[in-house]
Amino acid sequence: MSKFGVVIFPGSNCDQDMIYVLRDIMGQEVVELWHKDTDLKGCDFIVLPGGFSYGDYLRSGAIARFSPIMEKVIEFANKGGYVLGVCNGFQILCEAGLVPGALLHNNDRKFICKNVFIKAENNSTLITSEVPTGKALKIPIAHGEGKYYADAETIKQLNENGQIIFRYCDENGNVTDAANPNGATENIAGVCNAGKNVFGMMPHPERATDGELSNIDGRWIFDSLLSMVKN
């Protein structure tokens, strides 16, 4: 068992889905952490869920990054604690500087809500440890600002250090321009920090984990996270 803390900001809207998956499907202990809390309640894994924290005012994730709980999350992450940010959670991690890069408006400026395919770059990070490399996972995205961007030097380092965790691909696992939904640099859908304990991804694995929804590809990702507990 692991104790997961799911942070709820004003405007979070994927928090209950994340809690349901971790608690009811994956069988883990989960506590809710309010944005005004200043204590992580003994959690050993923190999740920043999707949504529109603080109404996406100024920039997605920019204001959430300065909420009281984030000070503790940043401290926890800097000590090597595990943190996962999904969608708006990824945007918050970028704004906090916990993972490199930024998330820009999608190239076509549309809010895109659909199933896409992503594949794990390698098995050397916790979040991809149980995902078969090369396998295209069908996972939904739902974002207006999901185009991953970092300067060329940063992208080079991410590639060299194995920090790119997921790339958008077609259903056969080919990373192509046509399979890139938002114009992300090098089809990047998710990255981690250099310490490989902080993970950010735009696709929503929590929306593809309950068998009732006919798609459980996201379970590979949650199984990977739980390998932390098993090992």
């Binding site: 920039r59 704004e95 190239n107 961007y149 300067d151």
Partner: protein, 83 residues
């Protein structure tokens, strides 16, 4: 003393600005095809209490760096006025 800052935050020149691109496209429909390279950012005004213009400027610069602009994707410029 109270100072007023007028801040512009713009997308980095090297980055695609999809909003600006869409507006550029509509200029042709307006009959103004001479207008090109529309780029759209934010204009922010704020008031700051400080002993001098330099101190006010340093505080505004700090606010821009920490919150108002994300320098991975944006740049900023500002002017300070005595209120």
């Amino acid at each position: 003393m109270k100072f007023r800052a007028e801040i512009d935050v713009m997308p980095l020149k090297a980055l695609l600005d999809p909003q600006g691109k869409a507006v550029t496209g509509s200029m042709k429909n307006l009959g103004l095809p001479e207008i090109e390279n529309v780029r759209i950012g934010k204009h922010i005004t704020l008031e700051v209490e400080a002993d001098s213009k330099d101190t006010a400027s340093a505080k505004v610069d700090d606010a821009c760096k920490k919150l108002l602009a994300n320098q991975i994707m944006e740049f900023y410029e500002f002017e300070i006025f005595e209120n």
